[in-house]
Structures are given as C-alpha cells and as structure tokens.
C-alpha cells in the first residue's frame, strides 16, 4: 500500500517494464503469485494461504451449501430447509468476500510491480515492514472493520435472508424440519394481490397506515412547533418549570406511558370514561359527552392512538424548534413589523420556512418512524379491536400486521417478508427522494 506518488502515468514506463508489470499481475491469477514475484514473501504466503483455505472450505462444505440453497433440502424430516437457506446465503457472502479479496490482491501485485520498476528499494520485504505499512496506511480500515462485521451479520445478512424468504412457501403449512420449504418464485406476490381477502386486508391496513402516519406525525409536529413558539415569548414566568414539564412525555420511557394510557382508555373501568369525561361534563355547562367506546370501536381507538402519539411525540419537535427559533435574528421580525406584517404573515414568511430549512430531514424521519411505530400500535390495543382479516386488527398498521403474521398462531413468513419488503422500499424511497432534495447528503469535503 505504498504511496501513489511512487507510480507514474502509463506512457512513462518502458516497454520492458510494462511487460514485467503485466506478467506480475498475471501471476497473481493464483493469489500470492505476483507477490512472490515481487519478492514480498510473507505477503505471498498469506495470500496463498487464504486462497487455499477458501478452496478447501468450498470443497469441504461450500459446494454442499450452494446446492442446499438451490434445492432447500430433499429429505423431509432430515434436511432443515431454513438452515440450508441460511448456510447458503452465508456461503454466498464468503464467495463475495473472496472475490473482493481476489481483486484487491491483483491490484496489489500490479501496484507493487509498478513501484518496483521505478525504485526497488521502496518495496517492503520483511514481515515487520509489511505490518507497519498496514498500520500506517490501513488504519481507517482497521477502525471500521468491527462496525462492518457487526452490521453485516445483524443487518445486511438478515435482510438478505428475509428477502429470499419472499420467494419461498415458508408458512405454517411448511415448518422445517418436518416439512421442506420450496422455492416458489413470485407466487407470494401473486397470492397477495390475486386472492381477494389478502388484497382487501392489505388495502385496508395500508390505508390506515397512511392516515395514521400523516395525522399522528403532523399533529406532533404542529404541537411541537406551536409549543416552542409559545414558550419562546419573553414574558413567561416559571419558564424552567414549564420547560421540564413539557419534556416529561419524552423523558419517561414510552412503553410505560402507552401501557398507562391503554389502561386509562379502558371503556368500562378506565379513567378517561370514569373520571375525565364526567369532569369535563361538570365543568362545561350544557355539555353531555357520553362514555366513549375507546378500544372497542375502531374509530374511537384510532382517535385515541393519534392523540396519544401527539402527546408522546411533540416534545422532541418542541426542543428542536426552540433551538432553531433562537437562531433567527430578531431584526427580521422587526423589519417585517415595519412593513406591516401581522403575526400570521411573520410565521408564514419567516419562522416556518426557516424551521423547515433546518429541520426538514428530521421531520421526514418522524413520518417514517410513525409509519413503523410498532410499539404504539401494539402496546395500546394490540392492533384491535376486531379484525380486517388475515390476522390483522382494525388499527393494525403494516408493521404490526407483519409482527402478527410472524408470531401469530398460523404464521405466514413468506407473506410477512413480502410486506416487509414493500414497507422498507416505501420508507427508503420516500426518504431518499426528500433527503436528496434537502441536500442532507452534501458532505463537507
């Protein structure tokens, strides 16, 4: 990994040198060959060893894994299709890593040969020199390797496996090792969209997911911005106390408050119906709100869910907006006042655009978070009440439906994988489009 300054442009090598460089590169068709030729013996041995190990692994278990991935097992009760699938994907990853290594070592042989052609003394031969060189030039790679390895196994690999499951018939009728799983191509999608009950469930869940995402997130953002503007007024007394209270919904772990609310919204014994509504009725004359059927009527359950999410989610936006508001110069408002702008005009033309300019990416993540807000939906009422078919309750959003399809009585792993795929695609595409519009990808260098 010598510095690139030691190489020169292609034309400046003599013909003989060029042939030599090409030959060195060609010798690395067997990894290590070029390195031996460059007289980097330890490196050559290491590369050759990696190559031999890879071949041995491929011969010993690898080829079996690949064929296992293709067939997913042949003997029911003996072959475990899922394990075969996972081992096959792992083997694909190994092969991919080996190919990456192969390209790198070809590149290495070529580059060292170039350096050797100009100044042979700059080529490292001893183990010590090579190790030092790795440390000196490979330091950032060494630092990031643990992160990559963990992500590979905790995120990329599982996502890959889930993706492959879409194209199988893995469901409650096909549970390995008793039964084999088979590749079924696009059948999962066909089933989902051609069988009426699935299509209806999917449509109904999807529509509520969109309504939920838009209304709950917009509510929490609006509430957050409004509260920040109220609190930003200079005359407020007890600002610190109000500040702490306003943050409490964020400070207390969400699962505690959701479970508390879930109990409070119990239609027969919960505090909302037994305490809050009677109190409102007694304070406001001529108002007679009856006890509402929270958690048993889909409409009122949805209202409660959106309200609670507003309660839970606004403090984050409030804190964010407060720090943005403090960065808006006061002169802008003064200038606007001189021009005769009223409060609403000032908000529309100064405050809101400024907030959006800074916080748009974060607002987007709020929308995508709620799109996937499993905790809220599942803990409040487990997606109930009632059912819209195929395990889904009337307040289930896509992600909690997926959870039920995976963990319920009659799991449909292939369908849940397909829905997950759709969810992820929607979230990623929407975010990417908006992120790149907001230039969040622009980096400093």
């Amino acid at each position: 990994m010598e510095s690139t300054a030691a190489t020169k442009s292609k034309e400046s090598y003599s013909k003989q040198e060029r042939i030599k460089i090409r030959n060195t590169t060609l010798m690395s068709i067997i990894p290590g060959g070029g390195q031996f030729y460059n007289r980097q013996v330890p490196k050559g041995i290491l590369f050759l060893l990696i190559f031999i190990l890879f071949l041995y692994q491929l011969y010993a278990t690898g080829l079996n894994s690949i064929s296992g991935l293709i067939t997913l097992g042949t003997t029911p009760g003996e072959d475990h299709s899922l394990f075969l699938l996972i081992e096959g994907v792992l083997q694909l990853l190994y092969i991919f890593l080996f190919l990456a290594f192969y390209v790198i070592q070809l590149y290495d042989a070529n580059r060292v040969a170039k350096i050797k052609a100009i100044s042979p003394s700059k080529v490292n031969h001893s183990i010590k020199d090579i190790l030092f060189n790795v440390y000196e030039n490979g330091f950032p790679y060494l630092l990031t390797v643990p992160a990559y390895i963990l992500m590979l196994f905790a995120i990329i690999f599982p996502v890959l496996v889930t993706f492959l499951l879409i194209f199988t018939n893995y469901d409650f009728n096909h549970i390995p090792p008793a039964t084999l799983i088979e590749w079924t191509g696009l059948d999962t999608f066909t089933t989902m969209f051609s069988i009426n009950t699935y299509r209806e469930t999917f449509t109904s869940v999807f529509i509520w997911t969109i309504i939920w995402t838009l209304s709950a997130t917009t509510l929490q953002i609006a509430l957050g911005i409004f509260t920040a503007m109220v609190m930003n007024q200079p005359f407020i007394k007890f600002k610190r106390i109000f500040g702490v209270i306003l943050l409490l919904p964020w400070a207390v772990p969400a699962f505690i408050t959701i479970l508390t609310f879930s109990n409070m919204f119990n239609p027969s014994a919960g505090a909302i119906n037994t305490q809050v509504i009677p109190f409102i009725n007694s304070v406001i004359p001529f108002l007679k709100i009856p006890a509402l059927s929270w958690k048993t009527n889909p409409f009122w359950t949805k209202v409660a869910l959106i309200g609670i999410q507003g309660w839970l989610g606004y403090p984050y936006i409030y804190v964010l907006t407060t720090s943005i508001l403090q960065s808006i110069p006061n002169e802008w408002y003064e200038a606007a006042s001189i021009d005769g702008a009223n409060t609403i005009q000032k908000f529309n033309s100064i405050t809101f655009p400024h907030i959006l300019a800074v916080a748009a990416p974060i607002f987007i993540t709020q929308y995508t978070n709620n799109f996937n807000n499993f905790t809220m939906i599942y803990l409040f009422n487990e997606g109930g009440p009632g059912s819209v078919g195929n395990n889904a309750g009337s307040t289930d959003i896509l992600i909690s439906w997926v959870y039920k399809l995976t963990t319920g009585q009659s799991p449909q792993y292939n369908v849940s994988s397909a829905i997950t795929f759709i969810i992820s695609a929607v979230v990623i595409v929407v975010s990417l489009v908006i992120f790149s519009r907001a230039n969040a990808f622009e980096m400093e260098d």
Partner: protein, 284 residues
C-alpha cells in the same frame, strides 16, 4: 388617536398573555394527569383493575415489597441492567472507532458507506424478524441475552456511527495535525489527543445506549421466551395486560422504579443530545 392605539396594544398584550398561560396550564394538566395517576397508584393498597386519580386511602409501600418478594421483578431489573451495560460497552467502542475513522481519514468507500449508513438505518428492525428467528435457532440464540445484545448493538451502529462522526468533526483537526508533526502515530493521536476531548460526547452516547434496553419492547419480546430471562419492559407488560389479575398497582410501582432513574438521566443528557442531532441533521 395615539392613546387609543396604545390601549389597543395593551389589550392585545393582555389577551396574548392570557391565552399563553391558559395553553401552558392546559398542557401541564394533560401531561401531569396520566403520570400522576401512575405515581399515586404505586402507593395505593388493594388490587385495582384500572387507574384513576384519587388521593383516598392510606399510602403504603406494599406494592414495592410485593414486587420484589412475589414477582420476578428483581430478576428482570438485573437482566435489563446486564444487557444495558454490555450493549453500552460494545456499542460505544465500535462507534467511537468507526466515527473517528469517518471523521479524520479519507479512505476508499468512505462517502458511499456513509450514504449506505443513512439508507440502512431506515430499514425497520422488524424487517428481519423472521431471519433473526432462524439465525437464533441456528446458533442457539433464542431466549439468550447475548443474542439480544447482538441485535441491539448491530441495529444501533449505522445511526450512531453517523452521529459520532458529527461529534468528531467538531474537534478541530489542527490538533491532530500538530500532534502528527510532533511525531505521534495514528494510535497516539487518537488515544491521547482526540479521545480525551471527546469524553463528554462519548458519555452521552454511552448513556443513550444504556437507556435503550429499558424501553425496548419488540425485540426483547421476540427473543426472550422464559419469564426469568425477561427485561423489565416485557415483564411489566404482563402485569397490566391481564385485567383479571388486578396487578395495576404493581405495574405502577415497577414503572416508577424505571421511569425515575431514566428521566433523571434524560434531563441530564437532553441538551447534548439535541445539539448533536441538529448538527448531525444539517451538516452531515
């Protein structure tokens, strides 16, 4: 005319202040009410099936006693602490190293992998639930804390590496450069020059990582199957889920023992967290 205008202004200011305080008091009531219900219920005697706000009856510590004597709450708490501490150490080590590399070095694949981090952290954890299950079966990770820690840390890496890089960017690079001129190697520059300056930020990251297992529900529920392995979140859900058992007061007592320390940590950290987020969000 001028006097009239002045009066109008004063009037307007009065109403503005009036509505401001009405709004703040309204919000205070809405926020405090459910929290106060939980707090008071924790000290109530008797078996309730649901919450409400009342100050009747004597206050007792019985619920806390029952929590530790008759239920597995103590075990759950220790489980959660264990998971939290281990996950915190692994996570902070990994993201500090990676964040430093992304902030200070220009290496092949740097930009594209940073973009990749943003995309990857958008994939919901649940996307891989089935795969997690099969992986856990394969390595015997079902019902173990080790596998849960692995999932927590792995899932937290992209977002937090990104944040950590942002924090490292705020430490002036001149410091490293002058250290390198003085002959310090990579490791010394990192460990002796930059790392000490980052201590507050690393502490913040560590505490956030520590707090996650106390509130995380879905993965814990999915991986941990036997009651003595539960974390507090799933354990407490059992108390309130079954109305016939009438253990709401136990839930309240257990909830307080989590909510109080977590909220204190939260208020301690909150300022740092927000400044990190805004700088991470706008600058990249």
């Amino acid at each position: 005319m001028a006097k009239n205008n002045h009066k109008k202004m004063k009037n307007k200011r009065f109403w503005n202040q009036f509505f401001t305080y009405v709004y703040l008091i309204f919000m205070t009531v809405i926020i405090i009410y459910p929290l106060l219900i939980t707090v008071t219920s924790a000290f109530k005697s008797g078996n309730l099936i649901s919450f409400d706000l009342s100050f009747e009856g004597e206050l007792t510590l019985n619920n806390f006693r029952r929590l530790f004597n008759d239920t597995l709450y103590g075990t759950w708490y220790m489980n959660t602490l264990m998971v939290a501490v281990v996950a915190m150490f692994i996570q902070v080590t990994i993201i500090t190293l990676a964040g430093y590399a992304y902030s200070r070095y220009r290496f092949i694949g740097r930009k594209s992998s940073l973009k990749f981090f943003i995309v990857v952290q958008m994939v919901p954890t649940i996307a891989a639930l089935t795969a997690f299950y099969v992986m856990a079966l394969l390595v015997g990770g079902l019902d173990t804390h080790g596998f849960l820690i692995f999932l927590y840390v792995g899932g937290a890496i992209p977002m937090n590496t990104w944040l950590m890089k942002g924090y490292f960017d705020t430490v002036p690079i001149d410091l490293d450069e002058s250290a390198k001129l003085d002959g310090a190697g990579h490791l010394r520059t990192f460990a002796q020059i930059v790392l000490p300056l980052m201590r507050p930020m690393i502490a913040v990251q560590a505490l956030w990582a520590f707090m996650t297992p106390f509130g995380e529900f879905m993965l814990a529920r999915f991986i941990l199957r036997s009651p003595e392995k539960y974390t507090v979140a799933i354990g407490l859900q059992q108390f309130i889920n079954d109305p016939r058992q009438q253990r709401v007061t136990l839930f309240a007592a257990g909830a307080i023992l989590i909510a109080v320390p977590i909220s204190i940590l939260f208020f301690y950290l909150q300022k740092n967290f927000v400044s990190g987020l805004t700088s991470g969000g706008t600058k990249g």
